[in-house]
Amino acid sequence: MEKLQAMATQVRRDIVRMVHGVQSGHPGGSLGCTDFMVALYFKIMKHNPSFHMEGANEDLFFLSNGHISPLFYSVLSRSGYFPVAELGTFRKLNTRLQGHPATHEHLPGVRIASGSLGQGLSVALGAALAKKMNGDQQFVFCLTGDGELQEGQNWEAIMSAAHHKADNFIATVDVNGQQIDGPTAKVLNVESLEAKWVAFGWEVLHMNGNDMNDVVATLELAKSKCGAGKPICILMKTEMGKGIDFMEGTHEWHGIAPNDEQLAKAFAQLPSELADY
């Protein structure tokens, strides 16, 4: 557990450094989902950093809210998919670390482009169905945002996954209650998420996405509930900007970068646990 927390701190340092380095990107959601992604890649998933697109007999992860790419890239690199030093190329010309995740440049660990919201659940469902056709016992994970659920395609996928009994599919919703134009409840209320997912035929779990113990325990519980005819949804409460006090509790840091002074303040709150890139 301490190792996971140390990794989460290092990943948060990576995120703010990447976004600061190119003065663009999305730190808020990335910081909020850090504990979840670290738990997934360093504890929960069976996966192979030598990377084969088909991922036979591996767990697969799909990031639907592709704008939290700094987090995805940091976790992939620190898992061994590509050199950590490459994080310094984020959002720059002629690199593999595109603003939003893409397969076009063949970045190991990324299986689908995402950024235009609402498409990841469908793709993850297709992968889950293919695994079932192949008799592959491993799991398919997907992360979406809560604001992202305003896109109608999600509900097509949610309906379809239950209909097809995709019980190897664990979808997590980042319930941070924020989106670009303000609180989700004000922009377009998506609640009650639990009632909606249950009504669509999913098993629904809750977790505190910024409590590593709870994240690990809930993801393990979700895996244990697979194979019972229902896909699993985890409603994950997070704080956008988690770990850096002046970024927490607001949507203001959804898509802006810290300046030099803010970066120094952020680093002061995140002691380097491993080594910066």
């Binding site: 697109m53 088909e54 991922g55 036979a56 697969l60 799909f62 893409a102 397969t103 076009h104 299986r111 689908i112 482009a113 995402s114 950024g115 235009s116 498409q119 990841g120 659940l121 469908s122 793709v123 993850a124 469902l125 297709g126 992968a127 889950a128 169905l129 293919a130 695994k131 056709m133 192949n134 592959d136 109608g152 395609q153 097509e156 996928a157 309906m159 379809s160 209909h163 097809h164």
Partner: protein, 322 residues
């Protein structure tokens, strides 16, 4: 020397039936093939596939956006998914899903689209997509195929299973003369098909209008006009060499397609001509309008897509050579 006599009409069949028979045959050979539909399994003639390969069929319901994403996910794990619905719902309804999850992500998804164009008929303009070739050919990496008859649709359906990468396969609803090789041996992706050699005008056609171009060539011959007819079944990648070779000889062009005048086959051919061999070109296509209800024959006549329009366009193109 290819002539019209090499293509006797064997029967009349729906191109969509060629798809249904093609995917069934392909599935027998290739266990990776999966069929998806958005509540149109019957219209796309998937009955035999579903009967013999139920475990490889995914009914997606009336949820096309999800179907495209599911197909991308299936492809990631190594399947060869064929999505099926009407052409309108295969393209304009799901353009962003195709763009991001299939084309940009380079997924091996086959987007199979029936009921394309005016010949869908009585359902009217809501269903008569006339912009799909343009939308699909604009996507980097997308292969776009518009076969001309039952045999060719069956051959194309089987061929795309062995072609790595995203494909848009466009076909139609009505019974139509069937004249290409029964075994599909005359179909190669990306290779234009010479139907009739000629010297006076090059008629490039795709889909149902290849037959109209053949009819036009017969009539033109009676007036001493020797028309070359070439079936451009693959709009992308375009067989540039075949087009340049033909227009270097004939020095004028007619393009014929069941599609808007903007963005379709005609514009693809015009790009080649402008670069390699500029010469007069006449378009036989829908002139920037929506369709309407009617029988296929009525609609092709009203919107200027039948053989008489191709004949008139050929004469005009020849006259413009000066």
């Amino acid at each position: 020397m290819a002539t019209l006599a090499d293509f006797p009409v064997q029967n009349e069949k729906e191109t969509r039936a060629g798809f249904g028979d093609g995917i069934y045959e392909a599935a027998k050979i290739n266990p990776k093939i999966v069929a998806l539909t958005a509540d149109l399994a019957g219209s796309l003639k998937l009955n035999n596939f579903i009967k013999d390969f139920p475990e490889r069929f995914v009914q997606c319901g009336i949820a096309e956006a999800n179907m495209i994403g599911v197909a991308a996910g299936l492809a990631i794990v190594g399947k060869i998914p064929y999505t099926t619905t009407f052409a309108n719902f295969s393209t304009s309804r799901v353009y962003d899903q195709i763009r991001q999850s299939v084309a940009y992500s380079d997924k091996n998804v086959k987007i199979c689209a029936s009921h394309a164009g005016l010949t869908l008929g009585e359902d009217g303009a809501t269903h008569q997509v006339l912009e799909d070739i343009g939308m699909m050919k604009m996507l980097p990496g997308m292969t776009v195929i518009v076969p001309c008859d039952y045999n060719q649709t069956k051959a194309a359906t089987m061929a795309i299973a062995d072609h790595q990468g995203p494909v848009y396969l466009r076909f139609g609803r009505p019974k139509w003369p069937n004249f290409t090789a029964e075994n599909g041996s005359d179909f190669v992706i990306g290779k234009a098909q010479l139907i009739n050699e000629g010297t006076d005008v090059s008629i490039f056609a795709c889909g149902h209008l290849v037959w109209m171009a053949m009819q036009a060539a017969v009539e033109l011959a009676k007036e001493g006009i020797n028309a070359e007819v070439i079936n451009i079944h693959t709009i992308k990648p375009l067989d540039v060499d075949a087009i340049v070779k033909s227009i270097s000889k004939t020095k004028c062009i007619v393009t014929a397609e069941e599609h808007q005048i903007n963005g379709g086959l005609g514009d693809s051919v015009a790009q080649v001509a402008a670069k390699h061999c500029p010469c007069p070109q006449e378009y036989v296509a829908v002139n920037d309008s929506f369709g309407e209800s009617g029988t296929p024959a009525q609609l092709l006549k009203k919107y200027g897509l039948d053989s008489s329009n191709i004949i008139a366009a050929a004469k005009k193109a020849i006259a413009r050579k000066g």
